[in-house]
């Protein structure tokens, strides 16, 4: 069966520091991969999606970036965090771009 992992589970970082969140999927190949953010009291905002290695589409201009160095690995990064980057970050995968399955999420607090 397929599983999706995210780490770390929680992270507290100072403003201006770098960020690296990792997501890996097991039990499938060539999945579509997604990064979402849920800000406090708000819905899910799609940040990036990827249909293959090295292929990244950005949905929202911001100081975040994403990379897919391997088929089942998706990384969310920032060179300098802002206070507004705080939120709950979710990685998801999909076999067919329709049904998406989410990871456990990372709670990021920027101080």
């Amino acid at each position: 069966s397929q599983t999706i992992h995210q780490w770390p589970a929680t992270l507290v970082q100072p403003v201006g520091s770098p960020l690296s969140l990792e997501c890996t999927v097991e039990g499938t190949s060539n999945p579509n991969l997604y990064w979402y953010r849920q800000a406090a009291g708000r819905g899910l905002q799609l940040l990036f999606y990827s249909v293959g290695i090295g292929q990244i589409s950005s949905e929202v201009p911001q100081n975040l970036s994403a990379s897919r160095p391997q088929d089942r690995q998706f990384i969310l990064s920032s060179k300098k965090l802002l206070l507004s980057d705080s939120g709950f970050y979710l990685c998801a995968w999909s076999p067919d771009k329709i049904e998406q399955f989410f990871g456990p999420g990372t709670r990021l607090t920027v101080l």
């Binding site: 579509n32 997604y34 708000r42 819905g43 899910l44 799609l46 999606y49 249909v51 589409s57 949905e59 709950f88 979710l90 998801a92 771009k97 329709i98 049904e99 998406q100 399955f101 989410f102 990871g103 456990p104 999420g105 709670r107």
Partner: protein, 113 residues
């Protein structure tokens, strides 16, 4: 432009009664709809989906109804249980062209014991 709207941010229902969660959409090209539930500090959990060729899909206590002419879908939970208390998101996609789901803003369901 919000293409998928959940106009009720919250809903409270008594245990054992029916919960009805509503969702409206504006894009007539959407042809597949999904419902997720989300507990705090966890990832959303897929519940049930429906294709636009159907108007109803049922899975246990969960039933999704689709009214294409009204561009409206609803999720019915019967009977509601305290463990159903969560945020419910509807999502939609135009499977022919889009590569990602469009999510609503969510409805917080509270089932009272």
């Amino acid at each position: 432009d919000q293409q998928v709207k959940q106009n009720s941010p919250s809903l409270s229902v008594q245990e054992g009664r029916i919960s009805i969660l509503n969702c409206d959409y504006t894009n007539s090209m959407f042809d597949y709809f999904l419902w997720y539930k989300k507990y705090p500090a966890e990832g959303p959990i897929f519940l049930i989906s429906i294709s636009s060729i159907k108007d109803k899909n049922e899975d246990g206590r969960f039933t999704v109804f689709l009214n294409k002419s009204a561009k409206h879908l609803s999720l019915h939970i019967v009977p509601s249980q305290p463990g159903d208390s969560a945020v419910y998101f509807c999502a939609a996609i135009d499977s022919g062209s889009a590569r990602q789901l469009t999510f609503g803003s969510g409805t917080q369901l509270t089932v009272l014991p």
